[in-house]
Symmetry: C2
Subunit: 371 residues, 2 copies
């Protein structure tokens, strides 16, 4: 099947990109299929073989004959070699250029960016330039986003706009291509400035940066510290914040106060508040945020409490009910939301909304202007 598909692709295309099937196991058959389809014998690349042996040794994996398969490549092919154990290769066949890439996403992306994309750019000819930008939007469904975008006439000539639900965000991509790089970038920047004005705070980022990166940049610039008190998000906000390199500069830590006792013992929420208002209440969210701010000695603290489901809902507080608390030097604020979706989706939306609220507060609250 693979060989037949490859023959067909080569007959009709200038570029053919294959991913996966380059590993050492018996279900990795891409190289054999290529040899069959292209009528090219395979040979063992001795340099690559030696490297594979060395890498395995470093990782403490005993050598086995099957690993030698990873050094087999078609005659005439050129290795695409990022320096590790996994290589791709490229070869020309009947007017087509073929790229064989590994299937593991991280490895595939590295080789794509290093070898395939430049080859496509070169093929597109000198002077051809592509300007591409992604805007991250939160809280506007794609159709609403499009209707806002379309109030601007005209989009720059030749611009392609795409709308992508990228849960929990909506992403807007814009591409322009032509020969005058400066003119393209200027048109793009102009258009983004107009859009920014119209989309307002729903526009999180014009640089493809995630909320946790934006919030982190601001906290670092202003020398502010942050703590979190998470109930329904279970640690997800801390996880997102700490994905950013250097986050220990401003993120002091958090309490996952999943049980009521933990909310009392570690966050100083009073038993009376929990009893009178419940663990999922604006009062508890505010007390958790304040408690985290004090416990960590942080400038700012975020708190979440809610019912992620699938059980635990009541008529008054259905599944998806969430309170987000923010404690700052100026006091506390609490927001109420009711999010749709599965347990995982409610957690994701809550973490996103909490970071979004913090991002907005950092933009507007003069008491968060920093030290």
């Amino acid at each position: 099947v693979l060989a037949a598909a490859l023959v067909e692709a080569v007959a009709r295309s200038r570029f053919v990109i294959l991913t996966g099937g380059l590993g050492p196991t018996e279900d990795d058959v891409t190289v054999a299929a290529a040899a069959q389809a292209l009528g090219t014998p395979l040979y063992e690349d001795q340099g690559l073989l030696a490297r594979i042996k060395r890498c395995l040794k470093e990782r403490g994996i005993p050598w086995q004959a099957r690993f030698a398969r990873m050094a087999l490549i078609p005659k005439g092919a050129t290795l695409l070699d990022p320096g590790g154990m996994i290589c791709g290769f490229t070869l020309n066949q009947g007017g087509a250029r073929l790229f064989f890439l590994p299937g593991v996403p991280r490895q595939m992306r590295l080789l794509f960016d290093t070898y395939v994309f430049p080859a496509l750019v070169e093929w597109s000819g000198p002077g051809q330039y592509l300007a591409e930008r992604t805007l991250r939007v939160f809280g506007l469904p794609e159709a609403v986003l499009e209707s806002l975008v379309h109030r601007f006439h005209p989009t720059p000539p030749g611009m392609t706009v795409g709308y992508y639900p990228n849960f929990p965000e909506t992403h807007l991509t814009m591409t322009l291509h032509g020969q005058d790089r400066e003119a393209l970038e200027a048109a793009m920047a102009d258009y983004i400035a107009t859009l920014s004005h119209r989309l307002g705070e729903a526009l999180i980022s014009v640089s493809d940066a995630a909320l946790e990166e934006l919030v982190g940049q601001t906290l670092r610039e202003r020398r502010l510290t942050l703590a979190v008190a998470e109930s329904c998000t279970g640690g997800l906000i801390g996880h997102r914040l700490t994905e950013v390199p250097g986050s220990s500069d401003y993120f002091l830590g958090g309490v996952v106060g999943y049980s009521n006792q933990a909310k009392i013992d570690l966050l100083g929420v009073s038993a009376q508040t929990l009893e009178q208002h419940g663990a999922v209440s604006p009062e508890t969210a505010a007390a958790m945020a304040t408690g985290a701010r004090l416990a960590f000695g942080a400038d700012v603290a975020l708190a979440t409490t809610g019912i992620a489901g699938p059980t635990g809902g009541t008529p008054q507080k259905p599944v998806g009910t969430v309170y987000i608390g923010l404690a700052t030097p100026g006091g506390q604020e609490v927001w109420h939301h009711c999010f749709p979706g599965s347990r995982g989706e409610v957690k994701t939306l809550t973490a996103q909304m909490a970071l979004f609220r913090l991002h907005r507060a950092l933009s507007h609250d003069p008491r968060l202007s920093g030290h």
Copy 2:
């Protein structure tokens, strides 16, 4: 392009599955392409249109003409209707059956499982049965896994085995098909039993369950409670544990002790331990686990401390150095690891290894046999 691909696919295939492009924005062109390719006019499904209007109203999104596009389907098509705002549709054309599915993964999967898979099963004829199982393995690269699997001769006749790196795990899928359902399932069960024996503890799960689910089941059955103290994982372990519905039955909460002061104040790690041994040390990992166990009054506590990178490494403790602590009624244990990869990968591997250590301890430690 879409229309041409569709014509080609219909000419050569019994089933054609399309995903994406059914939404309300102007880049959603799949239905128009289908109409062009198949020469079929489109009509507006009034029932679906009314439902879309109702759904939008419930979500507080104002009606716009563009939403009407989502109710356009080719004449002769049958709606694939999961009851929400997003439907797919199916139609027959020149001997092929076409399925049009939404592109958002969650919606696509629902329609695939509900409509497409049963149609494929029906087409395969009466009495045809497919037995498929996925085993989750941790700590064995795919080639090592394959070599272990291949020591068993023979695999059941007709079994297909696939190996998939699914970071941080390796997944092994086995499929068997034939007419005798009971015989297939018996052969599968026999083979899995043999494999289980050989793979030992690297085999996490024979039921496609995640580590956090397995650990949670055991904790619930034994009425044990769990707390976590996370430094380098930043909340990821708590996040994984709380993805499981009902996890509040056994998970009391955690402390993300990102700063040294938080480790002292909230986890009772002594300043002396931090100064003498450093925040990334077996002593600190043990103290964090013990501190979390006490702070939450939990039966068991897991702790992580390490250098996720990309900076912060030293010759003695390079990036990727991680200590995992476990505190139980019987005392403490600490494991040292040095994980390769990016910041995110080190976090992922650390959280996985911590849950794996807990899973093993629950299997072996008689003091964790429960209340």
